[in-house]
C-alpha cells in the first residue's frame, strides 16, 4: 500500500522528535490530506484553543497517491486552527514537499508546542533535527529557501514563512518553491507563533503500491484520456488568468472592493496579456498539466499572477497595471502573505478612505501607494499596523461592516455572489470562511448553464460539490483536474489493493465535510454566522449580466434552510446526532 503508516511528531517546546504509527482506523475513514488532518486536529486540540498558542498544532498531511504517478497528486494538506477565523483551516500547497515527506518515510508530520528561539526543522529520512534559525529570522521566503537548499540538498522540499508570518499577520501564508503557497487563513502565522521559520525535507525511501503494472497502465490511460483533454488543458495552455475574461463577461469580477462586477481595465490584466509575456510553464510533482506561468515583466518576476491575484489585487483595487500586480505578487510571495486577503484589505482601505470613514491615504487605482502597502503590512508599520489585522477587524475598529467583504474573518476570493447565487451559499457555509475551494459553484452557474439568479436546486448543487471536494482534497488530487468519483475510486483501488467504490467515497466526502462542521460548532460557530456581508444583500450590481441584481436576504436564507435540511443538520446548522452516527464520525 502507498501508506508508510508512520507519523512524525515534533514538539518544538520540549524538543522531542518521535515516530508513531498512523491511526489505521482514521486512515480508512478519512484517507489523508484534508480529512485525516481534520480528524487528528479535532481529536488532539480542545475547543477554544488560542490559534497562536503553543496548544495549537500544525498537521502536514500527504495522501494515498502522494509520491506515485497518479497525476495531479503533488499537493500537501496543512490543517490547523486559523488565527483569522478561529475555525478549522485546511490549506493545500503545491510543489513537491508532500512527495519528499513521503519519500522520507512519513504519511504525516505533526508540529506542536512553541520553540523558545527561532528554529527550523530538517528532515532527511530518519534523521530529524530541530536547528537554530536565528540567522534566517527576518529573511524573506526566497532567501530562506535558497539558503536551506544550499545548506541541505539542492532538490530538498522547503516550506517557510516570511516576515509576515513572523509578525503574526492575520493573513500570512507558508511558501514553497518561491511561488507556491498554503495561502489562506493565516497559516503562516501559526508557524510564526511556534517560532518555526522553515521545514526542509528530503527522502530516499520507496513508495510502493500493491500492483505496479496495474497502476502504470491505469495512470497512462488516465493521463491520456482524462487529464490531457480539452476539459483540463486550459490549465496548461493558459492557467487561471483565463478566468479574468470569464468573470468580467459574467459581471462577477470584484471591482473596487466589490462595488462593481465589470472592470473597465480587465483587458489589460487578462490571460492574453500574460501570454504575451511568453510564460514558462511549471507544475507540481506528478502533474501532467502544469498550470504555473513563470513570467518576467520589467523588474518583476513571479510564477503568476494567478486569477485570484489579478482579481483581488488588480480589479478590486482599481489597478489595471499588470507590471504593478506582478511586483506586488512577487513581494507578497517573498514576505509571505496571501494575495487574496491583501487585495481585499487594500480595496477595503481604499473604499474607507474614499467614503471618509477612515483615511488610510490610499485610493482606487493609486499604484504608488498600493505598492508600498505589502511591506507596511508585513512589518506592521504605519497603516500596515491596522491592515495586518484583516478586513473583519478593521470594520470593527472603524466601521464599514456592510462592505467589509469577508465571511467569518476570511476575505472573499474573486467571484461576486450577486452574479452567482450558489457561490453565496458556498461562501456562507465553507468550513474555513469566505473560501472558493470547498465548492467552486461558479463553474456550472456564472460560467455554465445553470441560472445564476435562482435558488432552485442550488442547496443540493453546493452540497454535492462540497462533498466531492472534501474527498478529493483528502485523497489529494488537484482541483484543476476534473476527475470523476469513478476515476478516483479506480485509482484508489490500485494503490490500496482493495476495491473501493464510488459510493464509499461519496459517503467519506460527506463524513469529512460534517467533521469540519463539528469542529466549527465546537468553536461556537453556528447558523447565525453562515451569512454574507450586507453589501451582497442590499446593493445591486451595476453592470453586465447581473446589473440590477443583489442576492436578496430572504432568498439566501431560504437556500440556507434547505441546505441544512439536506445535510441532516438542525435549524441552527448543527449536525444531528443521527447524522453523526450514520456517518460513523
Amino acid at each position: 500500500m502507498s501508506y508508510t503508516w508512520q507519523v512524525l511528531r515534533v514538539n518544538l517546546g520540549t524538543g522531542s522528535v518521535a515516530k508513531e504509527p498512523l491511526n489505521k482506523d482514521w486512515a480508512e475513514k478519512y484517507f489523508g490530506g484534508r480529512g485525516l488532518g481534520a480528524k487528528y486536529l479535532y481529536e488532539e486540540i480542545e475547543g477554544g484553543t488560542d490559534p497562536l498558542s503553543p496548544a495549537n498544532k500544525l498537521m502536514l498531511v500527504t495522501g494515498p497517491f502522494t509520491g506515485t504517478m497518479v497525476p495531479c497528486s503533488g499537493k500537501l494538506a496543512i490543517v490547523t486552527k486559523s488565527p483569522a477565523t478561529g475555525l478549522i483551516l485546511d490549506c493545500s500547497i503545491g510543489g513537491s514537499f508532500a512527495a519528499y515527506l513521503k519519500f522520507a518515510g512519513y504519511d504525516m508530520l505533526i508540529v506542536e508546542g512553541q520553540a523558545e528561539k527561532p528554529v527550523y526543522l530538517a528532515i532527511d529520512d530518519d534523521k530529524v533535527e530541530i536547528r537554530d534559525a536565528g540567522h534566517l529570522w527576518g529573511k524573506g521566503i526566497f532567501d530562506t529557501e535558497s539558503w536551506l537548499r544550499a545548506e541541505h540538498k539542492p532538490e530538498a522540499g522547503v516550506l517557510s514563512i516570511g516576515p509576515a508570518g513572523e509578525n503574526l499577520v492575520a493573513f500570512a501564508c507558508i511558501g514553497s518553491e518561491f511561488y507556491r503557497q498554503a495561502g489562506r487563513g493565516g497559516v503562516g502565522s501559526v508557524m510564526g507563533s511556534k517560532r518555526l521559520k522553515a521545514i526542509v525535507c528530503s527522502g530516499s525511501k520507496d513508495v510502493t503500491v500493491p500492483d505496479m503494472p496495474r497502476l502504470l497502465e491505469m495512470t497512462g490511460k488516465v493521463v491520456k484520456d482524462d487529464v490531457l483533454t480539452e476539459d483540463n488543458l486550459w490549465a496548461h495552455s493558459e492557467g487561471t488568468p483565463m478566468i479574468v475574461d470569464m468573470s468580467n463577461s459574467s459581471g462577477i469580477l470584484p471591482t473596487r472592493n466589490f462595488q462593481d462586477g465589470v472592470f473597465e481595465g480587465a483587458a489589460r490584466i487578462n490571460s492574453n496579456r500574460i501570454q504575451e509575456l511568453r510564460p514558462q510553464k511549471k507544475s507540481c510533482i506528478s502533474c501532467a498539466l502544469g498550470c504555473g506561468n513563470y513570467v518576467t515583466l520589467g523588474d518583476g518576476r513571479v510564477e503568476g499572477p494567478e486569477y485570484e491575484t489579478l482579481a483581488l489585487a488588480g480589479a478590486n483595487c482599481g489597478i489595471d497595471d499588470l507590471g504593478a500586480i506582478v511586483k506586488l505578487n512577487s513581494e507578497c510571495d517573498d514576505l509571505g502573505m496571501d494575495t487574496i486577503s491583501v487585495g481585499n484589505v487594500i480595496g477595503f482601505a481604499m473604499e474607507m478612505t474614499e467614503k471618509g470613514l477612515k483615511d488610510f491615504g490610499v485610493r482606487f487605482g493609486d499604484v504608488g501607494t498600493y505598492l508600498k502597502i505589502p511591506r507596511l503590512i508585513a512589518y506592521r508599520e504605519g497603516i500596515g499596523k491596522d491592515l495586518s489585522l484583516g478586513t473583519k477587524a478593521l470594520a470593527r475598529m472603524y466601521g464599514g461592516a456592510e462592505f467589509a467583504v469577508q465571511v467569518k474573518g476570511l476575505e472573499l476570493p474573486g467571484y461576486d455572489p450577486r452574479g452567482s447565487w450558489s457561490m453565496g451559499l458556498a461562501y456562507a457555509t465553507a468550513s474555513r470562511g469566505g473560501c472558493h475551494m470547498s465548492a467552486w459553484a461558479v463553474a456550472n452557474e456564472a460560467f455554465g448553464d445553470l441560472d445564476p439568479f435562482t435558488i432552485e436546486g442550488k442547496a443540493q448543487y453546493v452540497a454535492e460539490a462540497q462533498d466531492m471536494n472534501a474527498i478529493k482534497f483528502s485523497l489529494i488530487l488537484c482541483d484543476f483536474w476534473a476527475a470523476s468519483m469513478d476515476t478516483m475510486s479506480e485509482l484508489l483501488s490500485c494503490v490500496l489493493g482493495r476495491e473501493v467504490s464510488s459510493a464509499e467515497l461519496n459517503k467519506a466526502g460527506e463524513r469529512i465535510w460534517t467533521l469540519l462542521r463539528l469542529f466549527n460548532v465546537r468553536e461556537g460557530s453556528k447558523g447565525a454566522e453562515d451569512s454574507l456581508p450586507g453589501r451582497f444583500f442590499n446593493e445591486a450590481l451595476r453592470s453586465g449580466n447581473p446589473a440590477g441584481k443583489s442576492l436578496p436576504r430572504e432568498q439566501f436564507e431560504a437556500m440556507l434552510r434547505e441546505y441544512y435540511k439536506l445535510r441532516g443538520w438542525d435549524d441552527d446548522g448543527v449536525p444531528t446526532k443521527q447524522k453523526v452516527a450514520e456517518l460513523e464520525i
Binding site: G67, T68, M69, P71, G74, S96, A99, F103, F142, D143, S146, R149, P154, E155, E177, F178, Y179, S204, K205, D206, V207, T208, V209, M212, L216, G220, V223, V227, L228, H236, Q280, K281, K282, S283, C284, I285, S286, C287, A288, L289, G290, G292, Y294, T296, R301, E303
Partner: protein, 133 residues
C-alpha cells in the same frame, strides 16, 4: 543513443523520474531513476536541467570486474559479476547510477531502445537521438 531535452517544454513534474524507478525497480523513488530533472527557482530566475547517461563510458572503464559493457547504444551490466563496490556510482558525472536493493549497480540502458521516461513525459520534453557522435 542519448536523451535530448527541451527545457522550454519541461514543467518539472518529474513523471519521467517516477516512471523510470517504477519500471526498473518496481517502486516510486526519484533517487532510483536513471535520469534526473533538476528544476529550481533561484534568486536569479528558474533553472531546469536534465541529467542522463551520455555514454561517456567512465563506469565501463572504472568497473574493477568488467561487469559493465556498452553496445555503442546503451549500457548493460552482468549482475553475476557485479560486486556492488559502488565505484561506478561515484564516477558517474551525471549521478544516474545507483546501487539497488540487491546491492548491485543499476545502470542506465535507455530501456534497450525505447525509454519509458520518453513515453510518459506529458509534454514531449524528452526525445531520443539514435546516433551519438
Amino acid at each position: 543513443m542519448r536523451l535530448v531535452f527541451d527545457s522550454s517544454k519541461c514543467t518539472g513534474c518529474k513523471l519521467c523520474q517516477l516512471a523510470c524507478s517504477a519500471k526498473h525497480e518496481g517502486v516510486f523513488n526519484p533517487e532510483k531513476a536513471h535520469l534526473k530533472v533538476i528544476d529550481n527557482y533561484t534568486i536569479a530566475g528558474r533553472s531546469v536541467e536534465l541529467r542522463s547517461c551520455t555514454l561517456c563510458l567512465k563506469c565501463v572503464d572504472t568497473c574493477p570486474v568488467e561487469a559493465i559493457t556498452s553496445n555503442g547504444k546503451w549500457l548493460a551490466i552482468d549482475d553475476e559479476l557485479c560486486t556492488g563496490c559502488g565505484e561506478c556510482v561515484d564516477v558517474c558525472p551525471e549521478g544516474v547510477i545507483f546501487l539497488n536493493d540487491q546491492i548491485t549497480a543499476a545502470i542506465p540502458n535507455f530501456c534497450e531502445g525505447s525509454p519509458y521516461c520518453v513515453e510518459r513525459c506529458p509534454h514531449d520534453a524528452i526525445s531520443v537521438e539514435e546516433a551519438v557522435a
